[in-house]
């Protein structure tokens, strides 16, 4: 918040990005989504992100809170507002737009 203004988007300067990835078991799509996410974060948010993986097969009760339907779903908890990105995150451009790392 006190960081200098960034040329790309002010959101990038947020201290810690809290990201949550919802999966249901170790499926191909889930693994792909996770690796895509990690790569992306390293490239754009190095050192200021936290990824929480929630496996709904183990914790089904957590699906309602974030209104999860599609798997995998990536939820940007912080910075607000909450954003949801569904799919295996293979379309990098759309993920960046969806996370507001790139302007829409």
């Amino acid at each position: 918040m006190t960081s200098p203004v960034n040329a790309i988007d002010h959101d990038v300067n947020y201290e810690i990005w809290e990201l949550r990835l919802y999966v249901a078991g170790q499926t191909r799509k889930s693994l792909l989504a996770l690796s895509n996410l990690k790569r992306l974060c390293e490239e754009h948010l190095a050192g200021k992100y936290r990824i929480e993986i929630i496996d709904l097969l183990q914790n089904p009760q957590l699906a309602e809170g974030d209104q999860i339907l599609a798997i995998p779903t990536l939820v940007r908890r912080l910075p607000e507002p909450i954003r949801k990105i569904i799919g295996d995150l293979s379309n990098t451009e759309r993920v960046l737009v969806g996370l507001d790392i790139r302007p829409r």
Partner: protein
């Protein structure tokens, strides 16, 4: 995987050849139409336009299952919030919170905002599966409602993924063995907007709402029900405080008991016309006539008589309010207010146009169920023609009559016939439903109208075939013998005039007879006198003749003596001369 699955399904249905098991919905009338309910362990599609009652149908299925059949349920709601849902449940008389607290119902509200979702590649709906599974497991659900799945089409963009996921969802529900209802919005020319009926192949129910003469009626139709018989008609249904009632168009059947007991109509002379004992208890009576002939008054007498016997009566009025009716009946000497105060008489007045025909029927049946009367009056039934076709009115009446008969309740229906038309004809449709048909008709002659009452028919009793004059006075109703003579049926003042004339004629006749009798007596006296005179004359003559004969005899004798003396004197032979004289 797909191939394997489908072969299992095919093999399963062929080999075990199970009779299709059904799950009762508990929705009034619906289980009768489908001969048992929804297919057990299968998904049923309930589709219809907005506001046709899809959600209510699905909710009642869940609640009845949970409360009445011990089958907990799950509701996955896409469209409503929990408050909205609780409100609509409450409006049907179910308390959502209690059901949830008693673990009979699990709810999950799915909200998807298109704007906050971005698709970035391949995905599936496992999140939804997990949620449904979690909800099912949390209460051990046997019933699942998804309302409405098609919302996902607008929330998620990839139709190809959704379609394959839906296919998987229905298969998965079937594997879980839950009986499911999926609701879907009706599309243009198709059952559902996105064609999800192609995934639900077992049972499809279509709800519809149509407006006839500005009155809306809801209809339900079983479009498809694989492997079972079901009613194919379009059935009207209603949503009221107790939930949904589907009303089978066809009648309940003719299995009701017939009572031997008779009850008075409240008009002694009418009872006399009806075999001397009145109508059968539990029978249906049609009172038809033109406006102002006293149909309601006749019904009021029957009600009054029944209340006097301590029986409960229910009066459905579609023309007059309670106050107006009670006042009007008081003017003819029938005070119904005490019975209302005592709770023996219940009055339900409404305009036929207030709601649809089916709603009327259902609300009447509910009232009858609650009040349990022994006499029900519907006054008049013809007003329903305002809101429905004659066919519908007849079908509704038939169901009402049957339901009354099955409860042994006597029904009196008044029917307003249009003036001028043939009275018998206009009611023919209804008359076949009725056991007793009274016709009150104006007899118009010599410048006045008088009421005449006929018993057109009365099943199972010897009844009078005569027309009676029907008089309404401040002392109530009475039936008077009409004058039937060579100049036709006379009523009212014509009858009185005729009666006066007859009295005069009788007097004249009497005087005439007396005169004749007097004349006869006089003649008899005359005759007697003549006889006496004749006899006197005869006797006089007789005496004369007898006297003459005596003289002759005596003369003869003396003549003989003279001859003997002469003979003696001449000394003649005595034997010859003495023959005649002795």
């Amino acid at each position: 995987m797909d191939a394997y699955d489908s072969s299992v399904v095919v093999g399963g249905t062929v080999k075990s050849s199970d009779v299709l098991h059904k799950v009762p919905t508990g929705i009034k009338g619906f289980d009768e139409i489908t001969v048992g309910g929804l297919p057990k362990g299968r998904a049923t599609l309930v589709c219809g336009s907005a506001g046709t009652g899809k959600t209510v149908f699905a909710m009642e299925f869940l609640v009845r299952g949970a409360v009445e059949y011990g089958e907990p349920g799950v509701l996955i709601a896409f469209e409503e919030t929990s408050t909205e849902l609780a409100q609509s449940f409450a409006s049907l008389g179910f308390d959502l919170q209690t059901l949830v607290a008693r673990r009979l119902l699990a709810l999950d509200f799915v909200h998807v905002e298109r704007s906050e979702i971005i698709e970035t590649g391949d995905y599936d709906l496992n999140g939804l599966f997990v949620r449904i599974a979690y909800a099912i497991d949390s209460v051990g659900a046997k019933r699942v409602v998804i309302d409405s799945l098609e919302t996902l089409f607008s929330a998620l963009g990839d139709e190809a993924i959704l379609r394959s996921e839906f296919r998987r969802l229905f298969r998965w529900l079937k594997e879980r063995g839950v009986t499911a209802i999926i609701t879907g919005e009706r599309g243009d020319g198709t059952l559902t907007r996105h064609g999800i009926e192609e995934y639900v192949s077992d049972c499809v129910i279509l709800l519809d709402q149509r407006v006839h003469e500005r009155v809306a009626t809801r209809y339900l139709r079983v479009v498809k029900y694989r492997g079972t018989v079901h009613g194919t008609n379009e059935y009207p249904f209603l949503i009221h405080e107790g939930g949904i009632s589907v009303v089978p168009v066809t009648s309940l059947g003719l299995t009701h008991q017939a009572s031997e007991e008779r009850m008075s109509t409240g008009v002694p002379r009418l009872d006399a016309m009806l075999g001397g004992k009145g109508i059968y208890r539990g029978s249906s009576v049609l009172v038809s006539g033109t406006a102002g002939t006293g149909k309601s008054s006749l019904a009021a007498h029957a009600v009054h008589a029944a209340c006097k016997r301590g029986e409960r009566c229910l009066y459905f009025a579609f023309e007059e309010s309670q106050g107006q009716y009670v006042r009007n009946m008081r003017s003819i000497g029938v005070d119904l207010q005490p019975w209302i105060d005592k709770g023996l008489l219940q009055f339900h007045a409404s305009r036929p146009t207030y709601f649809g025909l089916e709603m009327h029927l259902a609300s009447m049946q509910r009232t009858i169920e609650n009040f349990d009367p022994s006499l029900v009056v519907v006054d008049p039934v013809t007003n329903f023609a305002m809101v429905a076709t004659p066919f519908e009115v007849r079908s509704m009446l038939m169901r009402l009559v049957d339901s009354l008969k099955s409860r042994g309740i006597t029904g009196i229906f008044t029917s307003l016939t249009a003036g001028g038309s043939a009275l018998d004809e206009t009611d023919v449709g209804m008359s076949s439903l009725m056991d007793t048909w009274l016709l009150v008709q104006f007899l118009e002659a010599s410048g006045e109208r008088n009421r005449g009452l006929y018993v057109l028919k009365s099943r199972g009793m010897a009844h009078s075939h005569q027309v009676r004059e029907f008089s309404v006075s401040s002392h109530g109703l009475d039936l008077i013998d009409v004058y039937v003579g060579p100049s036709g049926v006379l009523t009212g003042s014509a009858r009185q005039a005729q009666e006066a004339k007859e009295r005069t004629e009788a007097l004249v006749r009497q005087q005439h007879t007396e005169r004749k009798q007097r004349e006869l007596a006089r003649k008899r006296a005359q005759l007697d006198a003549q006889i006496l005179a004749l006899r006197a004359a005869f006797e006089a003559e007789e005496q004369d003749v007898l006297a003459t004969l005596e003289q002759d005899k005596r003369r003869e004798v003396s003549l003989g003596h003279d001859r003997e003396q002469q003979a003696r004197l001449r000394q003649a032979d005595p034997s010859k001369q003495n023959g005649g004289a002795g």
